[in-house]
Amino acid sequence: MRREEGGTFAPVDTIEGGATSYIDEGAEGDVAYEYRLVAQPPEPGLDSEISAPVRARANWFDRTKFNVLVVVGFFCLLLFIYIRRSEGGVQWTFRSIPGLAAIEEAIGRATEMGKSVLYVPGVQEIDDIQTIASMILLGRVARMTAKYETDLMVPTNSPGVYTVAEEVVKSGYSDVGRSDMYRSDQVRYITSEQFAYVAAVNGLMLRTKPAANLLLGAFFAESLLLAETGHSVGAIQIAGTANVHQMPFFVVACDYTLIGEEYFAASALLSNDPRLLGSLKASDIIKIFLIVVIVLGCVLATSGQTWLGDFFATQ
């Protein structure tokens, strides 16, 4: 039971008999509360004394997230170091990703065949990081299609994505001086309903028979429905997603698949911008760091030491 100082008691929670502490998640800040334990079923003799009044005070830092801050801070530091080094002229070589080279190749093929390129940015809202990464890639693809004078179709399943995609494609065309080629029906909003969207995009594929399908973004159950239809119309298909459960479908049904981090690295690799490449290098270094931590954690845990695991445990 809880009451504001001097008020009447009201139940807040039921806790187990053996509990020795309790955190009240619903307390208002800076209000004095008094607490009292009441036995269930009621037995007045077992009820506790009324506690001294306590006030919840807001913290400026959530200490349970200290480990997250350490890792993110370390990552950011590496990011700045490698971006600076990269700007200073240091060059790195990265493992080539066949799917990336294939994007330009696919657009070239569409140009030769006089057919269009279909770009599907997934089915998530614009606040999803995968959709944001897809918009970055769309910008690069739009520039390529504008340069090659190839038709680009972008059906979207969220009005938010539609608004951004339209701006991104328009800018892509204007960046290579081909604003005249941009048509207002290239980027279109279809519907926010997942399977109605799939039906519409599949219909678009069957009617227009694009030469290249770029399926880049967050996908769910629609991945195979889109990729199999794309295959049936003979399109070269390049997919990219960080949704692990959909990767097998793309790997089986598409010509190339960008898996997880490859998908996020794609825009940097396509741009060749040293600053972006620097950020990739930083990611690689932190990955090595994490591998070391994981192996060390396993060894320590096996030998009964849990402090490292405890430090990285999130609340």
Partner: protein, 220 residues
Amino acid sequence: MKRTVPFLITMAAGLFMLVAFFVPHPSVRVLYTEMQTWAIVVVGFTYVLGVANLLRINTRHVARRERDWPFKIVLIAGLLATMAIGFSEGISDIMDPSVLGYSETGSRFQWVYITFYSPMSATMFALLAFFIASAAFRAFRIRSFEAMLLAIAAFILMLGRVPLGNAIHPVIPGAADWLMEIPQNAAKRGILIGAALGVIATGMRVILGMEKTYGGGEGS
């Protein structure tokens, strides 16, 4: 100007959200929650743009009698009819239970939902079963030793997940569980860690304005 202002807004909002993740103080929390509410409101408005775009493109298609134009009439009629039914019913009247809101069981809007939307949506999802079979036939090639391992794992899993597997041999469901719990989980965690790093790097690149494609191109 056109590119600087969106970049500054992105940076300010991004950095604030990052800080808010670590700061539970109400003064920050209030703005944090408020900003998320703004996002919902902004997304609500984009629906107006989306529907306008849908109507514009499809009415033009019909007017010009482009290929498959009768289907576009079905689309526009479906959209307008569903909207009209929803708006005409509105929300339920708490004082008068005989007035059914659009979301109430038995309303006309619910009839549209059950009669059209529900079966059509389920049909699209059910297509997956057909497409998985055709993809298995077309693309699951055993070209190498690794591909063979993959195929064996797939067989065990497909049989282990249904009662038939247990009927063939009780070891099969156990083997399927082991595959899912150990190798599958290990590989997936590896991919997830890599993807999470990609997420952070992409997020930082956008917040710091290194990725200018997003939000309106690199400028000429």
